[in-house]
Every structure is written in structure tokens, then in C-alpha cells.
Amino acid sequence: MPGIVVMVALVAMVTVPATALDGPRPTRLGWQMYSGIYVAPEVTVETAGGAVLDRPLEDIVAALRPWPDYADAVSRHLCETEIGASSVRFFREDPAVNEVIECNEF
């Protein structure tokens, strides 16, 4: 039994972080401490009346991390909670993000 445990653990130590190499850094499960700089996208809500409201991501989420795909969850949340919201925009210069999610998609 210990032999199997040691083998499985060794294989996991070598293979799991390898799967995390593909994609932006840092991410989870890859021991990628200090391997990159995470810049959170700016989030704005556009209302039906045409107003554009800044909604900082760190005020919405439980903790700002590079790995969650916040777009769907945050836009759904803002569309439900912001009165008169028509769309939610995620914008970042580098690496480039410019995504607009219409509230009527939910």
C-alpha cells in the first residue's frame, strides 16, 4: 500500500503542475508563485438610460484572484442587482480583454 501511495503522489507532483503551464500565469495547482502580474479588468455597468457606472471587481468578489472566470458570475450578479442595468463591460488593456455581456442574455 505505501508503494502505491508513493507512486501516485510522485506522478501527481510531476504531472498536475505541468497541466497548469498552458495559459496565463499565475494560476492554480502549478506552484506559479510570482510568475506573472495579475491586473484585474475594469468592470462597468451601462444602464438603459445610457449612464456608465464603475463597479470595481474587488468590491464585488470574495477575494480577487487571477484564476476564476469572473465574467459570467459577475455580469449575472450585476445584471440582477443593479437597477436598470442593460449590459456589463469587462475591459483590460494588457493582456487585452474587452467583453460586453448584455443583461438580456440571462
Binding site: A9, R28, M33, A63
Partner: protein, 287 residues
């Protein structure tokens, strides 16, 4: 492989590892409880890691915090060592699984190391109710702790090989503002840190050069603590890697001489250290 599975070691370095990991788990609770409680509340957005888990409620979050705190203290004291270590590992795993935003590298590392301690007989020494004397315990969980830390060094080095890190920009972002480093020095530090981490992954396993690994590891972690901002998680990280260093040190003593096969064995200070350790029978070894 057979030697890894059949060898035994003095329980005390492993017990020291149990105490360090259990101790590190306690301030880690403070770190992960904030995002966990936020995710459990209705005021902040939760991002579950897995679907199909029971909903994360404030009561469940408080229960996890309470269990982790009790188990962490029990792990330090060596009370029901296996169970308390596994409880620490499983509560940390549950926290990671409940919400993506609770994940940190040191939380995962702590969960893995606590699991390896849970597989070991680390409660045979320096534990409440343990018998006095130097018990011998199976080596293979210690091998897993050492392999975990050295593969971590290797992957950390590999993940840093990217244009952003090599430019020095990442270090510049995290470096203490009073350090007067030029962009060229940042670049040099970036390359040097990758070299150190990659070298540590190898040096600690090679008896002839292990002493260089100890010195390099001490220099790397001390340098990180002195030069980078946000020190608290970095201190926790040192507490988590320290058990592996203690176990590599035990390896040196197991081989009979602390510096016996190293390139520096003739150096008088190391000769004196060897002699002192052998004379005292520290860590259960007497020549």
C-alpha cells in the same frame, strides 16, 4: 524504491515537521477565513470550485474554521497525531473546493504536507502522551515531504521562465520600494532566482553538494523575506518548506556524518559540528 519503503528514521525530525506544519496552519486560517466568510455571505460573489457540493453557508464556514483551529492545535501538540493532521488536510481541501477564491499556493501546500504527516507516525515523538526516547518510524512519508518541496522548487522555476518574469517586471512589482535596484539588476535577480530554485530541486538530493543546497535555500528564503513586500504569507511559506530541510538534514546524519560526503567536509567548522552532533547523540545517532 525498496529502500524508500523499508527504511526507518528517527521520529523527531518528522515530529518537528508536524509541529511546524500544524503551527503554520493556524495563521493560515486567518488568511482563508476572510474569503470563505465573504463567499458564504450574500454580500460578496462566490465562485464555487466544484458544482454539486452543498451550499456554502456562514454556519458551514464557521464550522470549518472551528474544526481547522482545533485540529491545528492538536497537530502541534501531537494529540491523535494522524487524525488531527488528516483533519487539518481535509478542512484545507474542503475550503479550496468550496470556493476558487480561497485558493493560495501555501494553503494547498499545507494541505498536502499535513496529509503526508497524517500518513506518518509523526506522533511518536514530541507529542502529548508519547513515550520518551528516539522512536524509529517509516521513512516513506518523509520522502514524500522532501519530494513535494523539491518538485515545487522545480515547477516554480519553470513557471518563471516567461518574458514578463525574465524582464524583471514581476520582481519590480513586489520589491520593497526603498531598494535601489536598476532595471538591469531586476533582470539579474529574476534570472538568479530561477537558477536558485532550479538548483535547489537537485542539490538537496545530492549528498556531496547538499550543504550548498542548505546555504542556497537559506539565502533564497531570507532574500525573499528581506526584499519582497507582503511578508506574512512568505513567512508561512518558510514554515512549510522547513520540514523538508530538517528531513534532508536527518538524511545527512543518517549517513553517519553531517558533512561527511560534502565537498566542504575538511572545513574545520563543519568538522566541529559533526563531532558535536555525534558526541551528543542528537537526533538519535551516535557513532
Amino acid at each position: 524504491m525498496q529502500r524508500i519503503l523499508t527504511r526507518t528514521i528517527d521520529a523527531r525530525p518528522l515530529a518537528a515537521g508536524r509541529i511546524l506544519i500544524g503551527f503554520a496552519s493556524l495563521p493560515l486560517i486567518v488568511e482563508w477565513s476572510k474569503p470563505l466568510l465573504r463567499a458564504a455571505s450574500t454580500q460578496y460573489l462566490a465562485v464555487p470550485t466544484l458544482t454539486g457540493l452543498p451550499p456554502l453557508t456562514p454556519m458551514l464556514a464557521h464550522l470549518l474554521i472551528g474544526i481547522a483551529a482545533i485540529a491545528g492545535v492538536a497537530m502541534v501538540l501531537g494529540i491523535a497525531s494522524r487524525y488531527s493532521s488528516w483533519t487539518v488536510a481535509l478542512t484545507a481541501s474542503a475550503v479550496i473546493l468550496f470556493d476558487q477564491q480561497t485558493y493560495t499556493n501555501h494553503l494547498l501546500l499545507m494541505a498536502l504536507l499535513a496529509a503526508y504527516i497524517g500518513m506518518s507516525e509523526a506522533g511518536s515523538a514530541w507529542a502529548v502522551g508519547s513515550r520518551r526516547g528516539a522512536a524509529r518510524v517509516p521513512y516513506w512519508p518523509c520522502f514524500l515531504i522532501k519530494a513535494q518541496i523539491t518538485t515545487l522548487y522545480a515547477w516554480t522555476a519553470i513557471s518563471k521562465i516567461n518574458p514578463e518574469y525574465l524582464s524583471g517586471a514581476v520582481l519590480e512589482e513586489h520589491l520593497r520600494s526603498w531598494l535601489p535596484f536598476s532595471p538591469e539588476m531586476m533582470q539579474f535577480l529574476a534570472y538568479a532566482s530561477i537558477f536558485c530554485e532550479a538548483a535547489l530541486a537537485v542539490l538537496l538530493w545530492v549528498p556531496r553538494v547538499r550543504i550548498l543546497g542548505f546555504l542556497l535555500g537559506a539565502g533564497l528564503h531570507l532574500g525573499i523575506l528581506l526584499m519582497l513586500t507582503n511578508t506574512a504569507p512568505l513567512v508561512l511559506f518558510v514554515l512549510l518548506v522547513l520540514p523538508a530541510y530538517l528531513l534532508f538534514l536527518e538524511d545527512e546524519i543518517y549517513r553517519g556524518h553531517l558533512m561527511g560526503a560534502s565537498a566542504l567536509r575538511g572545513w574545520p567548522p563543519f568538522r566541529r559540528v559533526n563531532a558535536a552532533i555525534e558526541a551528543s547523540g542528537a537526533l538519535g545517532v551516535k557513532s
